[in-house]
């Protein structure tokens, strides 16, 4: 029975089906909202589904220069690691597998899709992809610093309260702390980290001001330039699920709380909060900014968000 | 060594080499063999013996010294010397003691030449290894110089 429940979790709620459907709906809402902000009607909310199924029906071409196996395996590896991450992120207090993974495992698993994108692009053998993967890598280097520092701040903050000062990266402990003391973003010391994380999400997801890697106008979508058909569909799916996972991680880290204890209601609340986060960090930013250059991205992330995150870390050490 | 065809640069050096080579050889061998009795031992003796190579080179030039001491033989001999040493050292293990243990040490009276078991043999092995090794080294270096002169 327990096993069956586990498999159900894996395949159904925080797992495969939820990720695919939730991610695609999230992406659809994102596109719709963006369109509305640009005074357009915009595509239907189910548009990402259509894109996905259309791409599944298309021919898959493997270019002659490509390393075939890496080229085809990369998207699948990325997708699966994303879904695995999704299983580890608690929905308020409900966490089917969270004890097996903590924050750093989640963060590391979240780099796998980026690495998969890089390896896939690299394997396609196109110079556009070469430029794209270099940009993707610089983006990773950019956002990793503020993200890590803000996570360390959270770990210390939670550890000070629950573990006698020994830091914790356990997601369930972070949720527990928030259940006891209210959401983390209400704490004075965490607010800079909150903002920094909010700024990290668009780059992690690869949305507009920081989508330097997949700039379709400049470099023909960078690493994806040679992909077609089903692998491309999976990459697009990855993109959507990354949005879902990042926002839900963000909600768990900063906006989580006691919850109602009923899974269905919690899930809906979580999803609404995710939508709010997505609106502010992805959609709004996408609507009002233009694409940055690669070294501008690096400069941006290593100045403002890093400064905010370090401020947060210092405040935590002062016990605020 | 008394080959008349060899061109000798300087007869003084040649005569000196002729004179000192046997002395060096004997002294070196003495030091090797009495390593367990008096200060000295395989290494020091070996180096003194190897100085004969230098003397011959100085007196007769590179060709004669390579003819006298064949580099290949020297090289192989060095390995043989090392193997001999390890063999004598391993004897300790065969005789149910530790590595490098001196076995047969109760043969002969203390102070005699043949008195200290395998230490004597080890000394000889080291001496052999060093004299060949250093000799080879010296020949090699002279060889580099000789090639350069050409």
């Amino acid at each position: 029975m327990e096993l069956l429940k586990r498999i159900l979790y894996i395949l159904l709620y925080p797992g495969l089906i939820y990720c695919v459907i939730g991610g695609l709906i999230l992406a659809g809402i994102d596109r719709k909202l963006l369109a509305r902000m640009q005074k357009r009607i915009g595509p239907p909310i189910l548009q990402p589904f259509y894109d996905f199924f259309k791409l599944l029906g298309k021919e898959t071409i493997v270019p002659r220069n490509a390393a075939k196996k890496a080229f085809l395996a990369a998207p699948v590896i990325g997708l699966i690691s994303l879904i695995t991450v999704s299983l580890f992120i608690p929905v308020f207090k409900f966490s089917p597998f969270s004890t097996y993974a903590d924050l750093i495992v989640v963060i590391y698993l979240l780099t796998i899709p980026a690495v998969a994108l890089i390896v896939g692009g690299s394997a396609s053998g196109s110079p556009y992809a070469g430029v794209g993967i270099s940009r993707e890598m610089v983006a990773i280097i950019s956002y990793e610093l503020p993200m890590v520092v803000s996570l360390l701040a959270i770990a210390k903050k939670v550890g000070l309260a629950l573990n006698n000062g020994v830091m914790t990266f356990s997601l369930s402990q972070i949720v527990e702390y928030q259940a006891q003391n209210g959401p983390l973003f209400t704490k004075l010391s965490i607010i800079p980290a909150f903002i920094a994380m909010l700024l990290v999400i668009p780059c992690k997801v690869g949305s507009l001001p920081f989508d330097i890697a997949e700039a379709e106008i400049e470099i023909c979508e960078g690493p994806l330039v040679e992909y077609s058909g089903a692998p491309l569909a999976i990459f697009k799916l990855n993109h959507a699920i990354k949005m879902l996972v990042m926002t839900s991680l963000f909600v768990t880290l900063f906006l989580s709380g006691a919850g109602t204890g009923i899974l269905a209601i919690d899930a809906v609340i979580q999803f609404i909060l995710m939508l709010v986060v997505m609106f502010f960090s992805i959609t709004l930013l996408k609507a009002i900014t233009a694409r940055l250059r690669v070294e501008q991205t690096l400069k941006f992330y290593w100045t403002y968000p890093t400064a905010l995150a370090i401020l947060s870390l210092i405040l935590v050490y002062f016990g605020l | 060594m008394s080959n008349k065809n060899i061109k000798v640069k300087d007869y003084i050096i040649k005569s000196a080499a002729d004179f000192f080579t046997p002395i060096g050889l004997v002294l070196g061998l003495y030091i090797i063999l009495h390593g367990h009795l008096s200060p000295g031992g395989g290494f020091q003796g070996g180096v003194i013996v190897a100085s004969a190579v230098v003397l011959i080179y100085l007196g007769y030039g590179f060709e004669v010294s390579t003819k006298t001491f064949k580099p290949n033989v020297l090289k192989k001999s060095e390995a043989i010397g090392a193997l001999m040493y390890t063999f004598f050292a391993l004897l300790g293990i065969f005789y149910a003691a530790n590595f490098c243990r001196n076995v047969f040490f109760n043969v002969g009276n203390p102070g005699d030449l043949f008195s200290s078991g395998t230490i004597f043999l080890m000394n000889a092995a080291v001496g052999y290894k060093v004299l060949t090794g250093v000799g080879f080294l010296i020949l090699l270096m002279f060889g580099l110089l000789a090639n350069k002169e050409e």
Binding site: I104, V105, V115, P127, L152, S170 | -
Partner: protein
Amino acid sequence: MTQHLPILSIITLFIGAFIVALIKEKNEILRNTIVLIATFLSFIFTVMMYKPIISEGNILTYWMGNWEPIKDWAIGIGLEVDQLSLFFGLFISLSIVLSALYSFRYIERETGKDKYYVLFLMMSASVMGFIFTGDLFNMYVMIEIMTFASVALTAFRNDRPEAVEAGFKYIAIGSIGSSLILLATVIIYAQFHTLNLAQLAGELYNNYTVTTIFALALMIAGYAVKVFAVPTHFVAPDAYMVAPSSISMLFSGIVNKAAVYGILRIIYVVYQSMNLPSMQFLLIFWGTVTMFIGVTMALAQHDFKRLLAFHSISQIGYVITGIGLTTALGITGGLYHALNHTLFKGLLFLCAGAVFYATGTTDLDKLGGLAKRMPQTALIFLIGAFSISGIPPFNGFVSKWIIYQASYEAGYAPVTIIALIVSVMTLASFIKVAQSAFFGQLPKEFKNVEEVPLSMRIPMWIMAILCILGGIIPSTVTKYLITPAADAVMNSAKYVEVMMGREFASKFYNNLGNAPIIDYKLAGYWQPIAWLILFGILLLAFTLVAVLGGFNPKKFSYADVEDAKYDVFYSGESAEFSHVGGSDLFWGLKYQFRHYFDFMHKIHSGLVNDYALSVVLTAAVILLYVFTFVR
């Protein structure tokens, strides 16, 4: 038999070296057989020590020539193998076997093979001797033989000017390092009139005088030169780059590790100085600087092996940081990373060697697209690259994460942050290698490149599998290898007690220490099997959907024929060779840090005087630091 194992595992290699010297150069089969037998026997002897030492917790001591201590005074030369030594010995002897196996084909086109194998075996034997010895002067002798053989092997391809140059630089810098170690040894001997490590440990316990501190500073500086910590690292990339790959692997896998072992032995067991915060700070700071500078320099390289060499420096920085943290977790992380570094760096060097064997060059600007011609090598390379970048589920992830956790728990938050950034930069530079060597377009001159022979692939595969295993079952590895070694590091009293006997240690120590208990309860890396199973289930589900759901696999098209459809997209231009090489892959990053990179390039001047000066200055700074802060 058991008591003779330490000496046997050393002497086998020496005997092998001497026998190989006797064999004619052309007789390859006999020579290879002897090399293989010697290395393998040594490995077997080392493994046989596992049961008495790690399983049963004993410590083997071995007095050469039965010269046992008299009246608590060690007069003979002793070997002592405790858990720490054996831990190092195990993976070192393994990598020796693998390197030997790899060498047979790799080196076949060179001349002077007999010399190669003699030096190879001498180096291996000296490392084993260094690890197992219990005598301070023996450590010096062994590390000097090691340096000597390393230099000769560095200059092995002496028809290349670079090789000779690197050899000279290595011996000049290395001899300064050895001299520092020797000087320290001399000073310690002058103070205590003994060279036995255990006896020294007893004498030095809480006994800091000016002389001993002076010796300590020199010791640290000397081993830092051998470990290639940062201001003394300049020769490492040169030497690693020009040496044959099987030797580069041993440089980073065993020579470096031997020096790490030396540092551990000196500061933890002989001096027991790691309870001083100033010593911890020194090592942590040093390790952090080392890892950062190593990785940033690696980003700027365009030669495969030179890049790997800089990474080697960087990863050693992790190890030093780990062992500098002093907590049980930190030491565990450091030792685990040392093990992992041997595996994945050896793997990567072997990959570089395979590339060199197949194409004749390691210049990343000339390579490209080799994954099509050498698929297995490419796969192995990717495993190694992901391991070193700390991507789950490979072994680098586990050890790096232990180090992060340990450093953050110890209150060194900046160290944690830098370590993470370094990890990302490591990934970046390996992406660069992957892109410019294995993926992308295949240059015309490499059209007929073939996969390397089986005997070269076997060692690579063994290491790759070990890399994966180390990531999947970290709890097992830790339980059966790392924790005993960490125990041995933390409880030096036991070492002293067994070596000197007759309750020698209890004169100095109050208690003989207990095994540290580490709480892994909240660490997610600890059960990677759990999420790997998830990974597997998802993969299965996904495949099922893909197979059953009409993914139309029929319409999957791939061809190797000249058809425009399968060309790479060049905005419609006809296919031409336009490969994005390694040099210009990260211009965005390099542009932002151009002042830093300019400065670093100026520092790595290639001038042997500068390198020597930096070593001398390092020694001076450490002397100053130690005299100011260590009391």
